[in-house]
Amino acid sequence: MTTQPARSSWRNNRTLRRFLRNPAGVIGLTFLVVVVLAAIFAPYLAPFDPYQQHLPDRRAAPGGTYLLGADEFGRDILSRILYGARVALRTGVVSTLIGLVAGAFFGTIAGFIGGWIDDLIMRVMDVLLAFPYLLLAIAIVSALGPSEFNTQLAIAVWTLPSFARLIRGTVLSLREKEYVEAAGALGARSGGILLRHVVPNTFSPLLVYGAVFTARAIMLEAALSFLGLGAQPPIASWGNMISEGRNYLRLAPHIITMPGIALALTVLAVNLLADALRDAFDTRTNGV
């Protein structure tokens, strides 16, 4: 974990150079940029309206008019994948950000104030972590009702305790550092120390964790959509598309293959990026 003051351009340049030397990370980042652009410009790139049904062309094979084929209602799969990228990225980023901000808030308070507040916050986090992957999200969405925002909220609740723990650990180790103690001895107030010295140093582990959890959030959104608990049909989300194509697996496997490839490649790209960031920042985040 980084322990030096963060605002040293020399260090950041070294980090950047280390990142650029890692081909896997650069490939991941490049692919991700492509996905982001595809999502933003989906209305211009999509050859068809993603909701327009062409019933005579149901389950049309890839190639020809429909580059990646058509689904069971004759909707163009490529167009739906492009629009689906919006749901995936939006959910990945929004839910990770909510979890990160809330987690950073609680983790900083717990680590900096300590005492019974620390105990209380961390016990609540323990309880949230005690729910196996996916289950808390399922419980929340099935209670609140399926919608894109409820999905994002549910995923955020699931990521929150991991961020809180990470930040608390970083804050605790920083509190002992000489320069933080020195700032205290020089009369800086704790709020000031927190903002000037502690918070900037949590950026690099947060960035790595943020990338890791964005990948997981995209995957979790697809899983929830697959179970019928995400964005609701006819909205094009990759999980929805796979779920709808299930019944035609034998006759038209391309209906599930194409969105699955988009999903797997996007998650892989984010994972490659996270790995490269971890190496570049030299952050040890075992078991994440």
Binding site: V127, L128, G239, L263
Partner: protein, 307 residues
């Protein structure tokens, strides 16, 4: 040792209470009137009021939580409104199938994940390491439900050699679901094993062992892997909990008659008590497995129990 075990056991109690509280809170967030949903549109106001009083929905939140907790402690998770069976009974019937699937997946994870992690570490920087690394990253990035469907397509339709649904075909019916369920965790264990073994290989005593003439394989498999076992066991323990959760997707894809599919069916019919009951039971299993792992850990590593 005893003090540690007791402390750790006592520790689990507030966590379990916290779990029931979270589930109860989530359940009470349900918009609309659960009784109206349960009784359907034909119910009269009087019937609805009676049902509300019967379930205790007219009481304050904490009082309802008290009731709920007391019932959970007695093993009463309510009644499924789909088929009027006790939720606890439904879960008891479904649990063995899930547990068997999770164990099968766990065996695959250990048998494939640890060796590939060790190989990756030993041949660090070679093409073998790179290939295994990419394989595990790909494994980590594949959506479980999608892989399951592809396997069904290839081994059920294109080249029909394996059963693709249910568990009536004995051991053969485990192959595809267990492989699907294991994939993500395999990748995690392999990556973890690699980094742990790499770290141990740099230690002085490993160099000493090599210097005194012990063969490379003996050093790696007996010394380095042994020293890496504790973190690996912890994560494997955590995986078991994750597997119970991941089973939701795998069971849906393979029509596996376990707790995951029970839960998904319940979601579809908005049978909330079954959903909450299943989540509660799986969370309790997760906590218990973690507890067991911690205790094994303390048993293996005296530094922890005397700390």
């Amino acid at each position: 040792m005893y003090a540690y075990v007791i402390r750790r056991l006592l520790w689990a109690i507030p966590v379990l209470i916290g779990i029931t509280f979270t589930i109860h809170t989530v359940l009470s967030l349900t918009p609309g009137d659960p009784v109206r949903i349960m009784l359907g549109e034909t119910a009269t106001e009087a019937q609805i009021e009676a049902a509300r009083a019967e379930i205790g929905l007219d009481r304050p939140f904490l009082e309802r939580y008290g009731f709920y907790l007391a019932n959970v402690v007695r093993g009463d998770l309510g009644e499924s409104y789909r088929n009027k069976r006790a939720v606890a009974e439904e879960i008891r019937d479904a649990l063995p199938a899930t547990a068997q699937l999770a164990v099968a997946a766990l065996v695959l994870i250990v048998l494939l994940g640890i060796p590939s992690g060790v190989m990756s570490a030993v041949y660090r920087g070679t093409w073998l390491d790179a290939t295994l690394n990419i394989l595990s990253l790909v494994g980590l990035s594949m959506p479980v439900f999608w892989i399951g469907l592809l396997l069904i397509y290839f081994f059920g339709f294109t080249w029909p050699v394996l059963p693709i649904g249910g568990m009536r075909d004995g051991l053969a019916s485990f192959v595809l679901p267990a492989f699907t369920l294991a994939l993500n965790s395999y990748a995690m264990i392999s990556r973890l094993t690699r980094s742990e073994v790499l770290e141990t290989l740099g230690e002085d005593y490993i160099r000493t062992a090599r210097a005194k003439g012990l063969g490379f394989n003996v050093v790696v498999w007996r010394h380095a892997l042994k020293a890496s076992f504790i973190p690996i066991i912890t994560v494997i323990g955590l995986q078991f909990g994750l597997l119970m959760g991941g089973a939701v997707l795998t069971e849906t894809v393979f029509s596996w008659p376990g707790i995951g599919r029970l839960m998904v069916d319940a979601i579809m019919t908005r049978d909330l008590l079954v959903v909450q009951g299943a989540v509660l039971v799986l969370a309790i299993i997760f906590v218990t497995v973690n507890l067991a792992v911690d205790l094994i850990y303390a048993f293996l590593d005296p530094r922890i129990r005397f700390a």
